[in-house]
């Protein structure tokens, strides 16, 4: 059974159709890379999966919970679907450890000690053991993004959504974040990433989704797709990013 199942998803902002019937199945352990031009609806799709955006028709079932339906328990859903954002969105008034500990304590009722241990574990996982007490403003972009990953992981999500998580970083900081994500993929974490890092999508992804004007234009195993694009749009997209 799929961990995340997206069926004929349609969304529009007024007269503008952003998603025109998108269907994607994500199995446990999949690393799905969603690529496409800006405005193709890829970020919107990702945001629909944890209920940050609603949609008009179709269905998203994530970890057995239907997103966006009337009965959706968003809180229950979001405990299992983590998200990392392009702009990090760390809480500036809390330290790195404080950022990681907040949701486990507040939402899951973990004790200070449990949450503290969790913060140590997660920050170590992203290679920031020595930054527990640093505030976001004292960290580089790459470090901030890794704290954001640790923060999402602390909820022990079954799937992690990554929305262009390296797009706001200076080029030399991109790799430290990608390495962390790659490590997660190796450990079997289910990932859905919207990304512009084509090499990463090809080497780490188990599934590639090329979106074009609100539709899934091509999908399949990344290496195969990159080697032999089936549609002129995808061919053009690949060549445009060189």
């Amino acid at each position: 059974m799929s961990l995340v199942s997206i069926r004929d998803l349609k969304k529009s902002y007024g007269p503008l159709d952003v998603l025109k019937g998108v269907s994607i199945e994500v199995a446990k352990g999949d690393v799905v890379a969603i690529i496409g031009r800006s405005g193709s609806g890829k970020s919107t799709l990702l945001r629909c999966i944890n209920g940050l955006e609603d949609y008009q028709s179709g269905a998203i079932i994530a970890d057995g919970i239907e997103v966006g339906s009337f009965k959706t328990n968003l809180r229950e859903l979001r405990k299992h679907v983590g998200m990392v954002f392009q702009q990090f969105n760390l809480f500036p008034h809390l330290t790195a450890a404080g950022n990681v500990m907040l949701a486990p304590t507040v939402v899951n009722g973990a004790s200070k000690a449990e949450a503290g241990a969790l913060a140590d574990e997660m920050l170590a996982k992203v290679g920031l053991s020595d930054k527990n007490d640093s505030y976001p403003s004292q960290l580089s972009g790459g470090q901030q993004q890794r704290v954001a990953i640790a923060r999402a992981l602390a909820m022990r999500p079954k799937v992690l959504l990554c929305d262009e998580i390296t797009s706001a970083l200076d080029p030399e900081l991109v790799n430290e974040v990608l390495r962390v994500v790659e490590q997660l993929a190796k450990e079997g974490m289910t990932l859905i990433l919207v990304t512009h890092e084509m090499r990463f999508a090809r080497d780490v992804g188990t599934k590639l989704v090329f979106m074009h004007y609100g539709r899934v234009h091509e999908e399949g195993p990344p290496k195969q797709l990159f080697a032999a694009p089936k549609t002129p749009e995808f061919t053009q997209f690949i060549s445009s990013i060189g």
Partner: protein, 216 residues
């Protein structure tokens, strides 16, 4: 006739000023408490809740404080309830203060990046939890200067309570004037007392604002 010395006028005014301070403090604290509750309602994204709060705020911001005092003082009496000037002044100032503070604080809450809401949402936090742990701690910092600044308005607002017979510094001024027939002297002293109460607050608000701008 008993002769009032300037000294006696000052002493009596200062005694009454105590009530100005007490009324201001109480109105500010209770107005702040009501304002905080309203802030939750006003930013809740629950349409009817936001609607009700909006009407409340529009009413108290869109009518003179004096009318509100009259409504509480005379209006409640229509229902056969005895309302003391003290209670009417307290209630009117509380509601009036809460309306303005809610709007000031809403501005602070809304000035925070949307990403803070999204990140905390994605971590399964409820609206109340988001406000408590993520939004308010950040909004508070921005809110302090305009809030302290507004406290000046509350102090000056208490002057109106004199009209419904609450004896604070303005009412005391009126009474002393009736006894001494020295309006210019008396009201100059009253004004001086208000200034001494308000100026330190304005000064402090400005200082806080400067410090906040530097910190950014």
């Amino acid at each position: 006739m008993y002769e009032f010395s300037v000294w006696l006028i000052v002493v009596n005014l200062l005694k009454a000023a105590e009530w100005t301070v007490i009324l201001s403090l109480i109105a500010f604290v209770s107005g702040g408490a009501v304002g905080l509750i309203l802030l939750f309602a006003r930013t809740s994204h629950v349409p009817w809740l936001e609607g009700v709060t909006k009407v409340y705020i529009e009413f108290f911001q869109g009518t003179p404080l004096l009318m509100q005092l009259f409504l509480f003082f005379f209006g409640v009496a229509l229902f056969g309830l005895e309302v003391s000037p003290w209670l009417a002044a307290w209630l009117a100032l509380t509601f009036w203060t809460s309306a303005f503070l809610t709007e000031i604080w809403r501005g602070c809450v809304e000035s925070l990046p949307k990403g803070q809401w999204e990140a905390s949402s994605s971590l399964a936090m409820s609206y109340i939890e988001q406000m408590r742990y993520v939004i308010l701690p950040q909004a508070l910092r921005i809110a302090i200067p305009p809030t302290v600044g507004f406290s000046v308005q509350v102090i000056k607002g208490t002057a109106l309570a004199s009209i419904i017979g609450f004896v604070e510094v303005t009412k005391a001024g009126t009474m002393l004037n009736n006894a001494t027939f020295r309006p210019f002297l008396v009201y100059s002293l009253v004004a001086a007392i208000y200034f001494c109460l308000c100026y330190p607050l304005s000064w402090y608000a400005k200082k806080l604002e400067r410090r906040l701008n530097v910190a950014r």
